[in-house]
């Protein structure tokens, strides 16, 4: 998956936040909608798309969507 595709897929997990707010450099934890449910959705999405398991700790260790993408790709 390319970075752009990842950003788009990441955005799909959100119901309230407009799609255009999601960029590679977006600090996702600053989004109003970020919380335990969206975190869980991202973990589930990575599991589904990549068949890789990221943890809550992984999510806490990065801040932008691009950093998360790199982390997932490197797993």
């Amino acid at each position: 998956m390319t970075l752009d595709e990842f950003v788009a897929r990441f955005a799909e997990e959100f119901d309230e936040t407009p799609e255009e707010e999601f960029k590679a450099e977006t600090v996702f934890k600053d989004l109003d909608e970020w919380g335990s449910l969206t975190a869980l959705s991202i973990i589930s999405m990575v599991d589904e798309e990549y068949d890789k398991r990221i943890t809550g700790a992984d999510l806490r260790s990065v801040s932008t969507i691009e950093e998360l993408y790199n982390l997932v790709e490197s797993k």
């Binding site: 449910l37 975190a39 973990i43 589930s44 599991d47 809550g56 806490r60």
Partner: protein
Amino acid sequence: MAYNPFSLEGKTILITGASSGIGRGIAVECSKIGAKLVISGRNEKRLQDTLSQLQGEGHLALQADLSTQEGVDALVEQCPPINGFVPCAGIPKMQSVKHINRKDLEEIVWINQEVPIILTTELLKKKKLQKKSSIVFIASLSGIFVANMGESIYSTTKAAISGFAKGAALELAAQGTRVNTICPGLVPTSILEMSNEMFSEDQLMESTKGKYPLRRLGKPEDMAYAAIYLLSDASDWVTGINMKVDGGYSLL
């Protein structure tokens, strides 16, 4: 002889999931209060670890992978006659409702829900469960008393077990056998790592303070003492209950 209405002297108890966490804790404490244990687990090494922690003589370890029907059948076949049964093997899976897929659904339902039911039926059919036995399912707060984010399938299986326990309690009363569940609050075991490490150490400590009126998380021993009560003759008139052991979590 010292007065002890909770003694398990003379009782043989089968525990699945005894190679780790809560199941191991229950096995160890039951052995200390006089029970003979038949412990089962998937990982041979961890199972042997538990065996070495048991007090007294005459315990039996039966390695079994319960993910297949063959594994379930082999366990029933090798099991000696028992007076108590604690199906404790279980798996979590954190997943949002939007991402549930059939493979995960079937895997979790099989281990958490179908295996305990099938084992109960087979142990009865093969006359392994003696008259006046006690069955103690390890359910959860989830699905019975509370809901947690990401635990919808897990909750489904635990609520199902609670339903089964009531039905079985009614039918098996005829032979003096009692059926109950224990519903644990959060006990830090390897189950938490498997559930995607959603909780950091800090978060766990935070939840201890805020969410548990008794101001700590659970220990396997907390579940073991509840299991001892339900397995012993002290609970001779208790059947069909869900026993919360949760430090008051569900009060808030």
